[in-house]
Symmetry: C2
Subunit: 296 residues, 2 copies
């Protein structure tokens, strides 16, 4: 027997990899929402969502889409939040929960709170799951299983609203953690955003090499470079928005990393074997920590 | 029917991941060497090789090991080449082929050629295969299948000796490319050595963060960081030696990468969306190139 649905009308603004995965898990389980509304900008995406049959209602206008919804999840790139909020804010029902899936959390408070209507509960969240693919076809219902979802509710948020968002992600199979948005943004800066910035950059560095070397680079991409390019194949709009909306934490982590890589360069130049060995051992130690935590 | 063995007595100096994989493929095929001699420094490794039964002769003294061999392959970290060469050079038979599997090739010429006896053929090679594991248990006979092996024979090397090393790697399943050692060292600097340096470094950067953030980093290592740590778990001695023996090319590639990452930092700081998008697109393009070449 399926439990009572958590929400009467769940509205997903944006129906790419994450949004369509939420729609699929809601459809499969039946205990997340009675009705799922999917909202997308382009006719092509709307048609595709209709063909896939993963939502009960398909809508192009965000203002229309959120009407009557008791939960709205923003699943668009974080740079689009302010614009979407301006459209939907006047139409959010009192008591509605407004949440999101964005990879930056300070920016969510900055972009959504000023327009938040009285009686609407803002509960930002970040499911730490994804692949290098995007679009409604890329989603799948098990995407969130066994992955962390970080919630960053502002102080004073209605505990019942927090509990409902927590239950949503628990039903999707995730493990829930709560932290403040500043800590969240620092952690993801080093865990995810900086590695992506590095991956995009090194691909550009390779692309700038003289023709002969560049051809050879493509030919001989061994395991190191290959792993870097996997993460470099991610969505353009999403990553541009992440970089621009986690600016301070990302620049701080990049500055720390650059200092450290310059120290490594100096050790290589002057043949400081012990320094280099120590750095390599630390990498192995961190890796060991991940394996213990079953994150590797 | 098995073809005539390529070598009468093949001597492997060092029997870790690569050396033990060569021993295994030689044993499986039967057409690579009549007798395989394995040489290692430590009693523990020698005992393990005896237990695994992957070599016909197990020997601790390199000078003894190379006696009577018509092919010697150095499979130790590249920093150990000069020391090993001093031990084995007086005992190499005329007509013997001396080759290696090291990831740096300029250093091989530098360290081996001065002591090379007349009549011994130096044919450096670099099988571009590996895993993050090491030691004689880590090897497997299919490690080289479908991977490139780059040969960097000095000008004037006996064509028959080059052909034999080529056949060795073809029988191991590899695709052979030939280039000069300087180009080789540049290509592997960007394809493999710089990505490893970056991976080791970012693990250290994370390890230096304040306790609270560091704990969260380990907990929330998403796909980006996780891929980085996989390559960061590689062998300490091997990578120290690679960095120190490909110094010039590695420092040049790191300098180019650092310039590019600083340009990216500036774009993030000043909100230059188009610049960031362009960088992300280049990453995707390089990735596309790899997929076309079946290297991804």
């Amino acid at each position: 027997m399926t439990a009572e649905p958590l929400f009467q009308r769940l509205c997903l603004i944006g129906i790419g990899l994450i949004g369509s995965s939420i729609a699929r898990v809601a459809q499969e389980r039946g205990d997340i929402a009675k009705v799922v509304v999917a909202c997308a900008r382009t006719g092509a995406t709307l048609d595709r969502v209709r063909d896939l049959g993963i939502a009960d209602v398909v809508e192009s206008d965000p203002a229309e889409a959120v009407k009557g919804a008791d939960c709205v999840i923003l699943c668009v790139p974080v740079g689009a939040y302010a614009g979407v909020m301006a459209q939907i804010a006047p139409h959010l029902e009192p008591g509605c929960i407004l949440t999101d899936v964005g990879s930056t959390k300070g920016s969510v408070i900055r972009d959504l709170r000023p327009l938040l209507p009285a009686g609407v509960h803002l509960v930002p969240a970040h499911p730490m799951a994804g692949t290098e693919h995007s679009g409604p076809d890329a989603g799948f219902s098990t995407l969130f299983q066994g992955r962390y979802c970080i919630m960053t509710p502002p102080e004073g948020t209605d505990p019942a609203a927090i509990a409902k968002v927590r239950t949503l992600w628990e039903r999707a199979g995730s493990m829930i953690e709560t932290m403040d948005p500043i800590t969240h943004d620092k952690v993801v800066a080093i865990v995810s955003h900086l590695p992506h910035l590095i991956a995009f950059t090194i691909c550009g560095t390779a692309d700038d090499l003289a023709q002969e070397t560049r051809e050879a680079v493509l030919k001989f991409a061994a395991s190191g470079f290959r792993d870097f390019t996997r993460i470099a194949s991610s969505d353009v709009d999403m990553w541009r928005d992440i970089f621009l909306n986690n600016r301070e934490a990302l620049l701080e982590m990049l500055a720390r990393f650059t200092e450290d890589s310059q120290a490594m360069a100096r050790a290589v130049r002057y043949g400081e074997a012990e320094f280099i060995e120590d750095r390599i051992r630390r990498g192995r130690k961190i890796r060991g920590g991940l394996i213990e935590r079953k994150q590797a």
